[in-house]
Symmetry: C2
Subunit: 187 residues, 2 copies
DNA sequence: ACGCTCATGTCAGGTACTGACATCAGCGTA
DNA sequence: TACGCTGATGTCAGTACCTGACATGAGCGT
């Protein structure tokens, strides 16, 4: 007889998303999530730094993918490098994740606290990209602007991707949004 | 003999910034801040929705200034309109606020929780700008990108403004940063 | 003198989060 | 087999954030 079942972390994540979607983020206590996963509150906090973080595990991997995309891109100006990395990062969001992403985003959009956390993650992404660009020799201001622009394109593109009725894959959307941004700033 | 001194809100804000700078955000309790201001914890929460918010009161006014700048701008493409609004919003940060802004930013940069809140405020700013641009008839995607770009320029410019040794006024810096962004995306 | 308003105080309570210590299955090793 | 180590989990106590309900009392109009 095992004392504890494996996959505690994943069970907690699944339980949290389910409960948040049903009762709302504020309407769900950590103790409830843990109980749903067959664990205790204390164990939840051993797996996740705080209640919000349970929805954002895996972001590190996404960030690493993005940074790797920058490091591996062929020599070019910062914005083109970012565009290349943007392309590569879409591998993190294959088609079969679209409806799951929609559900998760719905939960986040319903709570300012979760939005804060998402913005912090995206900001961390921009910082990591900026650093990676600087390591390639880019000017710091140019690197920061390119990274922030890349994140802005991703935000707008991702929102479009999970919008009702949207059919295009994320990569195609990101290309279109980036094109729009370029023409916007050409004036 | 008065039962309570006026300016409770301002006293709380001053006490909070002082304590945060000295003991750190986490190392300061709301009860301490309130006591420093000669009030109780409960009163603190009547003035500010949560502990973080005490550092961000006044952001609404800044946002209104920004939106007004967009509404009053002469007819032009979205990015030019945003550039005009950016110009006008610098009135919120006159020279004599620079060192105060530096101190406040130092406190924020030292705590992830405060960074989250700052990002949420900036995101709210971008949303308000997007809406204002849409009301002027801009395309939603173009409006969102212009607003996000404007906020990115402001972030980078503001960080430069409060950097050690920087002399230029904010407006001049923002013009330069925007120029840099334009040339970055021209390729 | 009366009552209204409104900022504040007081108190009880819920929830997030943390530190310290206990438990116990699995596993290697003597 | 017996022993002890490891590591995930449980238990418990405690702090701080935040909220709802109710009390207080100065200022003000009537």
């Amino acid at each position: 007889m095992v004392r504890w079942q494996p996959g505690a972390r994943e069970r907690l994540q699944a339980a949290a998303l389910e409960r948040f979607a049903a009762e709302g983020f504020d309407g769900t206590t950590v103790a409830e999530i843990a109980a749903t996963a067959g664990l205790t509150e204390r164990t939840f906090f051993r797996h996740f730094a705080d209640k919000r973080e349970v929805l954002f595990a895996g972001q590190d991997e996404f960030e690493r993918l993005f940074v790797a995309g920058i490091e591996d891109a062929p020599d070019a100006d910062p914005m083109t490098v970012v565009a290349t990395a943007l392309e590569g990062a879409t591998a993190f969001f294959p088609e079969d994740r679209r409806s799951w992403s929609r559900a998760r985003q719905g939960v986040i959009d319903a709570d300012p606290g979760l939005q804060e956390r998402e913005l912090l993650k995206l900001s961390g992404l921009a910082v990591a990209m900026t650093d990676a660009l600087c390591r390639r020799g880019a000017d710091p201001i140019a690197a920061a602007l390119a990274a922030e622009s890349g994140v802005a394109v991703f935000k707008v593109g991702f929102a479009t991707w999970i919008a009702e009725g949207e059919q295009r894959p994320l990569a195609a959307i990101l290309r279109a949004v980036l094109g729009e941004l370029r023409s916007l700033l050409a004036s």
